[in-house]
Amino acid sequence: MSDDKPALPALVPASDSLSNLRHYTAARVALGRAGNALPTAAHLKFTLDHARARDAVWSAVDGGRLRTALEARGFRVATVHSLAEDRATYVRRPDLGRRIAPEAAAALADALGPCRLVVVVADGLSAAAVEANVLPTLDALAPRLAADGNAVDAVVVVEQGRVAVGDPIGAVLKADLAIVLIGERPGLTSADSLGCYLTFRPREGLADSARNCVSNIRPDGLAPADAAYKIAWLAREALRREISGIDLKEESAAELTAAKRAETKVVGTD
């Protein structure tokens, strides 16, 4: 290093004009740099967000507490485990997370009997989403469903469950409608996003195109109360028209647009 040049600062911050870019996107723009690397604060913010996302994936729902809370609300509740015995198996084997053992299915039928409308709560890929958003969503949803004459007959809590686990559960309970509430794959900006999938006459082997999805349910996304409005609407229409999935989406598209609700989409991911 020559003596006649002024010393450069270690940190090159983003200029004011560059920082204005943050108005336009939630992306991590205008971070500045330390040499060529991320400044320490930006580096640690990223690692914190990733840690939250990982914890959401790898922690378990407190099933006992959830069950107690659901029963306190007057729901009949049963608990079942998918064929994926643990998290490490769950993330590797999506097929196992979609199924339950025959004995478990029989036990569910014995415990609950036939149900017209069953809500299935599955941990999915975010325990944090279930912990934070299932009860607020159900608290808003159950009265709306009941007002339409579609009361929730039972809630089944699934450990290590994928979206399609609602199919064998709904089938054994002879349900006309399964509403699956499941933790979505966490992003760095939201680790607690809940997804909702509605399936008319659920049975094993259904394609994902037979479901309707309401996604990104969380206070900073689609608020639970707004989600409940949409889920109840979809439930009512699915039961009335006896369809779900792409057919219902196409039929309801104009009405949904008119209602100016947040996006509803049919998706194939779980």
Partner: protein, 468 residues
């Protein structure tokens, strides 16, 4: 034809080459999900030993995916060049590995050999190679492509600037684009993954990217990564389309899952060529691939995911692309479980692509349900640069807010350049120096306002605000 090997008291038998390849594949979750993986560590090595003794010529007669019903198989076998294959025709897979690692396999020899290699041969030898082997041989492969700049010159790597936005908002895309440009990214392409797949949005996005590129006179190319049929419609509508993008896979069935076949890819390429927008070259296609794509489409035909991935490269090379990248960590832990599996798969894909003559890049990335983090990405990036990777993907702060996964940051590429001394595409690097963003050695100037001073960024910002 069966393959067998005796180890101690056990005789391991593999009914055909497809099974032998699956059992010989280094461990990964996708092959276990498919139920075709080796059942133990010794089983796997027995398969590798049997594979090492298998003649390369066997691959020309073996059926992986049926010829009669699969156009990718027909493309591979009908296009095979026996004369180019001759220098290695009598080798086993194990001998082929040794030849590749030896000084006999020069860059020129490897180039001449390409038309004689099938994807399955390249996949086979990769299964016997360690990471260092994969790096060493890939580094000997020379693949140079061009459009508005030149990708793949020795001692360079390029970056795709990926300014995605969750709703394709023009100002949001432009903000990430400007941020990346100021950090010296974007010589491979400005490439946006659209959240929607309508022709109107496609045209708006390529229009936006082309406007920024044109205003600042950046010698690079732009791309909206919509479906190939959307691109064709956009070209018909007069949109400024530089590169046509498509995700592809290694079987006709898996490509059908993407809604494409060889004919529509050819149609798209012809449409892009008809615009004549390239200045230094005529490579107009951009493909993405990834291990597990065929299995997830239930079109893998019992073939291991890495071999299916290599077959996708046979599709890619037919269309002389400017860019190809594997999205290695994007698909999730049911296909590649952790950082170790992602790292190996990324280097395998890069090796196989380069051996087959592709301008191979890698999206060095992972999702939040994979057991991986930014440390794994650092290691893979540095290994890939030593292997001569053509380009990598970069996003603001390593966080893609639209696709919800983590890739490399613009900073990561800068850091890797500082460590390894690799430069950018020469035309792009000259432009960066000309506008004052970098010094003569390609290092960022401490004052990041160079573009501002020329009115470029200020004008762009005003333009964006006016569009509000």
């Amino acid at each position: 034809m069966t393959y067998a090997i005796a180890l101690d008291d056990t005789r391991w038998v593999f009914p055909d080459l497809r099974d032998l390849m699956a059992k010989a594949t280094p461990r990964r979750s996708g092959d276990e999900l498919a139920g075709i993986a080796a059942e133990s560590a010794v089983h796997r090595i027995a398969a590798q030993m049997a594979l090492a003794d298998a003649p390369l010529a066997d691959f020309l007669g073996a059926e992986f995916v049926p010829y009669e019903t699969d156009e990718v198989t027909r493309l591979i076998l009908d296009g095979h060049d026996a004369a180019a294959f001759a220098p290695v025709a009598s080798m086993t897979v194990g001998q082929f590995r040794e030849w590749l690692l030896s000084p006999l396999a020069t860059s020129e020899a490897l180039t001449a050999l390409r038309p004689g290699l099938t994807p399955e041969m390249v996949a086979a030898v990769s299964k016997l190679m360690r990471l260092q082997d994969l790096v060493l041989v890939a580094a000997k492969c020379r693949v140079v492509t061009g459009f508005r700049n030149t990708i793949g010159q020795p001692c360079t790597f390029a970056t795709r600037l990926q300014p995605n936005h969750p709703t394709d908002d023009s100002r949001g895309i432009a903000a990430s684009l400007i941020d990346g440009l100021l950090l010296g990214a974007g010589d491979a392409v400005f490439g946006v993954n659209p959240a929607t797949d309508g022709v109107q949005d496609y045209c708006r996005i390529v229009g936006l990217l082309d406007e920024v590129r044109g205003r600042l006179k950046v010698p690079t190319q732009t791309c909206c990564l919509g479906h190939v049929t959307t691109a064709i419609k956009a070209i018909e509508a007069g949109a400024p389309v530089d590169l046509v993008f498509q995700s592809i896979a290694g079987s006709e069935g898996a490509n059908a899952g993407f809604g494409v076949n060889l004919a529509v890819l050819a149609e798209a390429r012809d449409a892009a060529l008809s615009l004549g927008r390239g200045t230094v070259g005529r490579n107009v296609m951009y493909f993405e691939t990834g291990q597990g794509a065929a299995l997830s489409a239930n079109a893998h035909h019992g073939v291991d995911q890495q071999t299916m991935e290599a077959r996708a490269y046979a599709v890619a090379r037919h269309f002389e692309p400017l860019l190809v990248n594997t999205v290695v960590g994007f698909i999730g832990p049911e296909y590649l479980y952790n950082g170790k599996e992602i790292t190996r798969a990324g280097l395998e894909d890069h090796f196989c692509g380069k051996m087959l003559g592709l301008p191979m890049g890698v999206d060095v990335c992972y999702t939040n349900h994979c057991d991986a983090d930014q440390d794994d990405m650092d290691a893979l990036l540095l290994l890939l640069i030593e292997a001569g990777v053509s380009f990598v993907i970069t996003v603001p702060g390593a966080d893609d807010v639209m696709l919800n996964y983590q890739s490399l940051s613009y900073h990561d590429a800068l850091g890797a350049r500082e460590i390894t001394g690799r430069r950018r595409a020469p035309e792009f690097e000259a432009w960066l120096a000309e506008v004052g963003l970098t010094d003569g050695a390609g290092r960022l100037n401490p004052d990041p306002q160079a573009l501002l001073g020329r009115g470029g960024l200020a004008a762009l910002t005003r333009h964006l605000e006016a569009a509000e």
